[in-house]
C-alpha cells in the first residue's frame, strides 16, 4: 500500500447518481487485485475529514477506474472532479477475491455493489471461468450491464429483488462459487440462499472506516470464532469474507 497523489484523467457521468472516475496511477496499478479498495480524498480538501473507501472498478494498464454513487458530501465532492484535478489516495487496501479457474461462477450485486465485481469478472473470464451475473437496484439509474436484471420498482428488467433470480438460477444450475456485494440486508438474504444450496459464497462488506489500514479498529465486523465470535476489520482482514463466517445480526 502507498499514499500517493494521482491525477484524474476522466470523470464520466453515468447518470444522475453514478459516475466513473479514472486516475493515472502507474505506481500502484500493477499491484491491485480484484476486490481491493482505496481510501481516497481530494488533495488539499479536508472536509469531510475522513477519506472515503472506494473499490477498484477496473484496472486498465496504468489507469485505475472507480465507479462511485453520490450519496453524501464526500461522494458529491468527487462527482465534481475534472481532468487534471488531484486525488490523494491510499492503497491498494484489503484482501481480494479468490481467483479460481475453470469454474462456474455466479456474481450477485445490488446498486453500487456492482463496482468491485466488475474487475473481478474480467479476471474470472481471463482465467477461464464461466461467469453469470445477476444485478439489481432500486430503479433504472441503478442498473448496469449484467445477465439478469432486477429493480425494486420494475423500471428496468424484472421487478423484485436479486434473491428471486438467485433462487431460480441455483435451482436450474450448479455453481462452484458465488461472489456477492450489495446492501447488507441483500447479502444476508443471499448468504442464506447460498447456504441452502450448499454453495460457497464470498461477500464484500462495508463498514465506516477511519484509517483503512487496520490500526484504528473502527471498521469492525462480527466474524464467527469457535462457538462464539470476534471482531475483524473490514479494511485489513476484509473486505472479502466467506459468507458463512459473517454474523449478520450482530
Amino acid at each position: 500500500m502507498k499514499n500517493i497523489l494521482v491525477k484524474i484523467i476522466e470523470n464520466i457521468k453515468l447518470n444522475d447518481d453514478y459516475f466513473l472516475l479514472w486516475i493515472h496511477a502507474p505506481e500502484i496499478s500493477k499491484s491491485i487485485s480484484s476486490g481491493q479498495f482505496f481510501e481516497i480524498k481530494i488533495a488539499g480538501n479536508n472536509f469531510p475529514l475522513l477519506r472515503k473507501p472506494i473499490s477498484v472498478f477496473e484496472v486498465k494498464n496504468e489507469n485505475v477506474g472507480f465507479m462511485i454513487k453520490k450519496i453524501g458530501r464526500g461522494t458529491e465532492n468527487f462527482s465534481h472532479l475534472k481532468k487534471n484535478d488531484v486525488l490523494d489516495i491510499i492503497g491498494p487496501l484489503g484482501n481480494s477475491f479468490e481467483l479460481p479457474s475453470q469454474k462456474e461462477v455466479l456474481l450477485i450485486s445490488g446498486g453500487i455493489g456492482y463496482a468491485p465485481l466488475h474487475n473481478l469478472k474480467k479476471e474470472l473470464l481471463s482465467n477461464n471461468n464461466n461467469v453469470t451475473w445477476i444485478h439489481g437496484g432500486r430503479s433504472t439509474n441503478d442498473i448496469f450491464s449484467s445477465d439478469f436484471t432486477f429493480t425494486d420498482d420494475g423500471s428496468s428488467g424484472q421487478k423484485g429483488f436479486v434473491t428471486i433470480g438467485m433462487e431460480e438460477i441455483l435451482l436450474k444450475k450448479k455453481f462452484d462459487l458465488i461472489y456477492c456485494c450489495g446492501p447488507k440486508i441483500m447479502m444476508k438474504k443471499c448468504s442464506e440462499i447460498a447456504k441452502k444450496f450448499h454453495t460457497k459464497m464470498f461477500v464484500s462488506l462495508e463498514e465506516y472506516m477511519a484509517c483503512g489500514i487496520g490500526v484504528c479498529h473502527g471498521c469492525a465486523v462480527a466474524i464467527k470464532k469457535n462457538d462464539s465470535f470476534t471482531y475483524k476489520t473490514v479494511c485489513k482482514d476484509g473486505p472479502i469474507f466467506n459468507s458463512n463466517e459473517v454474523i449478520w445480526n450482530e
Binding site: 502507498k2 479536508n46 469531510p48 483503512g212 487496520g214 490500526v215 469492525a220 485489513k236 450482530e250
Partner: protein, 302 residues
C-alpha cells in the same frame, strides 16, 4: 543544531511530535519512517484480550470524529508476542499505553512490561471504569489517581505518564494528584464524550450510544485544559486534541505542552507527523529560536 529538542520527564526527544494512542500502528510504516518521530505511543492494551464494542464504531461529525472502539486489543500476552517486537527495531522511544479495571491489574501489567528494554515509558490510560469503585472512571477521582500513580511509580524507573480525561469538573486537582504521587509527566486530553443521531430514523450513529469525540472540533477544549494544567503543575505535558498541522502544534506549545501528539489527523493525512516536524523545524530555524523557548509562553491574558 537541533532546534526541536524537548524533554518529556526522563525522556530526551529529538523532536516534540508523537502519535496519540489508538490512532497509529505498525502499518503506518508504509507511509513514514518511524525513526523520524519524537516518540511512538502504542494503542492501549489491557491484561486480557478485548474484542471491543459492536459496530458501528465510527461517525464523522462536523470537523470531528466519534469513536467507540471499546479498547479492542490483543491483550498483554498478544501484545508482547506480536506487537512489541515490531517496534523493537526503531531507535525512537516506544511508549506503551495500558489500562486496567483494578489497581492490581494496572500493577500486574506494568510488572510484566518492565521486563522489556525496548519500552521507554508508559502512558497510563485512566479513562476506563474502575470496578473497585462503583465503575466510576479512574481518571475522574483525584484520590484514586493518586493511589494508582503511587503504586505504579514505585514499580518502575521508566517514564511514567498519566493520561487524563477532560470529562471532569476539575482536571487540575487530578493532574496535581498524579504529580504528587510521582508521575513524571501528564498526557492530555483523551476524547470528550459525544453522541450523534440520525435525524431520519432516530438511530444512534454509534451502536454503544455515547462515544469518544476527537479531531479539530475539540482543539479549543484541549488547549484550555493544557493551559490550566501546565499553569498548575511542574511536570511536563504531552498534549493532544485536534492537532491538524504545525500551527496547531505551536498553539499547544504556547499553552504549555512539551510534546504534542497527533491522533485523528493521522487518518486524514498519514504523513502529517513528518510534515509537522519539517514545518516546525523550518519555523524555528527562520525565527532563530528553539522550541523550548516558547513552551508555556502564552501572553496577552488579563
Amino acid at each position: 543544531m537541533n532546534r526541536l529538542k524537548t524533554k518529556l520527564g526522563k525522556l530526551e526527544l529529538k523532536n516534540p511530535i508523537t502519535v496519540a494512542s489508538g490512532t497509529f500502528g505498525v502499518e503506518n510504516n508504509n507511509f513514514i519512517d518511524f525513526n523520524s518521530l519524537g516518540a511512538i505511543v502504542s494503542k492501549t492494551i489491557t491484561k486480557n484480550e478485548k474484542i471491543g464494542n459492536p459496530p458501528p464504531r465510527l461517525y464523522e461529525t462536523s470537523n470531528g470524529l466519534l469513536n467507540s472502539i471499546g479498547l479492542q486489543n490483543p491483550g498483554l500476552k498478544g501484545f508482547i508476542e506480536n506487537v512489541l517486537p515490531k517496534y523493537a527495531t526503531y531507535e525512537t522511544p516506544f511508549i506503551v499505553s495500558f489500562s486496567g479495571s483494578t489497581i492490581d491489574e494496572f500493577s500486574e501489567i506494568l510488572l510484566e512490561l518492565e521486563k522489556y528494554d525496548s519500552i521507554s515509558g508508559y502512558e497510563v490510560n485512566v479513562s476506563c471504569p474502575n470496578v473497585e469503585n462503583e465503575g466510576i472512571a479512574f481518571g475522574t477521582d483525584p484520590k484514586i489517581v493518586y493511589k494508582l500513580t503511587k503504586q505504579l511509580a514505585s514499580q518502575t524507573d521508566k517514564e511514567l505518564i498519566i493520561k487524563l480525561t477532560p470529562n471532569v469538573t476539575d482536571i487540575v486537582s487530578i493532574a496535581k494528584a498524579a504529580e504528587d504521587a510521582g508521575a513524571n509527566s501528564l498526557a492530555l486530553i483523551n476524547t470528550l464524550l459525544g453522541m450523534s443521531i440520525d435525524w431520519k430514523s432516530g438511530k444512534s450513529h454509534i451502536r454503544r450510544g455515547i462515544a469518544g469525540y476527537s479531531g479539530p472540533a475539540i482543539k479549543p477544549v484541549a488547549i484550555q485544559n493544557v493551559y490550566r494544567v501546565s499553569s498548575n503543575v511542574k511536570i511536563p505535558i504531552l498534549a493532544m486534541g485536534g492537532v491538524s498541522n504545525w500551527k496547531d502544534a505551536l498553539e499547544f506549545f504556547y499553552a504549555g505542552a512539551n510534546v504534542v501528539a497527533i491522533g485523528t489527523y493521522n487518518f486524514v493525512n498519514p504523513k502529517i507527523t513528518i510534515e509537522t516536524i519539517d514545518n516546525l523545524n523550518r519555523h524555528f530555524l527562520s525565527r532563530n529560536q528553539n522550541l523550548t523557548e516558547i513552551i508555556g509562553k502564552i501572553n496577552g491574558i488579563n
